[in-house]
Amino acid sequence: MERIKKEIEPKSNEIVVDMEDVRLGFGEKIVLKRVNLKLKRGENLVILGRSGQGKSVAIKCIVGMLTQDEGSVKVFGDEVSEKNETELKELRTRIGFLFQSGALYDSMSVRENLEFPLTRVLRMREQDELDKNVDEVLEAVGLKDAIDKMPSDLSGGMRKRVGLARTLIVKPEIMLYDEPTTGLDPITSREISELIMQMQKKYKTSSIIITHDMECARITADRILVLDNGEFIAEGSYKELESSDKKIVRSFFK
């Protein structure tokens, strides 16, 4: 895994995601108090935090699914909340979002799930071209044999892999992973974490990974941020945070 990490292009200083003093609440409950986050091109940033601390909310602001009450969220230098519907759609084609459940479309086979973003987002029409892209991405996630299966026939790990394939098929520049290994056994979790690294190498993406899984964090993170009570309380590499003087940060590594 270290070898894969080294093979990935060196991080540039270009900031692709920049969240500044983001505050967001639902009714009287303030979920994000003051969130500051910068993601560099080619970087893998892991966000750790207990459940209900606003990790998913933070990444949903990046794709414009939620709009912050205060502060700014800039992606590729442009403020997300100022984009109109068309601009937002365009931005979303450059960002991949892997949901916790994989979020495969139940009524479609694996092939149709993968063709969906190609035909709707990239407006690809030629069947040869569609087949080529589908085959390529399925081979990358090691599920070529599952092409005609329905999501209900797949295991949890396979669903995540297909979800990852569907996200990567449009070749996004930024990948957002919402708890990619939750609910999986340790072996499959490790496989998914390694797959994330392989995909980053292959597709040269910048990633934000939300996880509770420390093995996933260890394998994938260039940098880790710890979110607690609506703000980031610690930042550093896996090794640095392992010996943090903050008890709450250390508690994740036990």
Partner: protein, 257 residues
């Protein structure tokens, strides 16, 4: 108590506003490019063909029962030859459209509500949205247009089957030929019976699709909300069918009679 009433009204007004927004989004998406023809055809098959058996059986029974129930009264007045006339006008003007729409509200609107509700819960709609695809166009426009097209067709088929059921019921106690029965039926029905009846089924179809999609698309997270979405889709669609029927009857009274 007063506060609860205010909150109830506020919620109702808010939801009405949301429904108007949803309606606006539907029309905007109908007239923007990229219509999902394949999904539309699939939905027409699901909604039309898959509901045909249920609508057919119900309409047949309805025709039989209506004839058997009406016959004794008409016989009392020596008017049993008027039976085809009475049954055909009842079925075509009112019973056929309303019963078909109510059956479809139970089957289709709840199905759409549950399907979209579970897609919402499992983040499939969110996934569609963040991928840059248009869930409104793929999921909502196709379903609403499919119900708007298929409910009138199902009603026409249901009416025909209902009349056939009535013909069989007439022949249980009397003898009337097929040709004579349908001649009597067709003589009884005028354009002013057919047009309003057919027109209102278009609105019934729209209401069934719209309510199902709205409830499913806006369901909360959690598995319980899937059931709630399906249930409230049926209840609301049924109420809308009755409301639209009253309006349609009033309008047709003004325009045609």
């Amino acid at each position: 108590m007063a506060e609860q009433e205010v909150s109830g009204w506020k919620k109702w007004v808010e939801e009405s506003g949301e429904q108007v927004n949803f309606l606006g989004a539907f029309f905007r998406n109908v007239f923007t490019g990229g219509f999902e023809w394949n999904e539309f055809v699939r939905q027409c098959y699901q909604i039309g063909y898959r509901s045909f058996t249920l609508v057919g059986i119900t309409s047949f029974i309805m025709g039989v029962v209506l004839t058997l129930q009406s016959r004794p009264t008409l016989v009392k007045f020596g008017a049993n030859s008027m039976l085809p006339l009475m049954v055909s006008v009842s079925i075509i003007r009112e019973i056929g459209p309303v019963i078909t729409a109510l059956i479809c509200a139970g089957k289709i609107s709840s199905g759409i509500g549950a399907e979209l509700g579970s897609m919402k819960v499992t983040e499939q709609i969110d996934a569609m949205e963040v991928s840059g695809a248009n869930p409104m166009q793929y999921l909502v426009v196709t379903r609403i247009l499919a119900t708007t097209l298929m409910i009138p067709l199902l009603t026409l088929l249901g009416d025909a089957i209902g009349l056939f059921g009535s013909f069989l019921a007439v022949n249980i106690s009397d003898h009337m030929s097929w040709m004579l029965y349908f001649n009597k039926c067709l003589k009884a029905i005028s354009f002013s019976d057919l047009l309003p009846a057919f027109t209102k089924t278009i609105f019934f179809g729209f209401a069934i699709g719209f309510i199902g999609c709205y409830k499913g698309f806006n369901s909360n997270k959690g598995t319980e909300s899937v059931g709630i979405a399906a249930n409230s889709a049926v209840v609301n669609a049924s109420l809308w069918i009755f409301f639209l029927d009253v309006v349609a009857v009033q309008l047709s009274q003004i325009l045609f009679y």
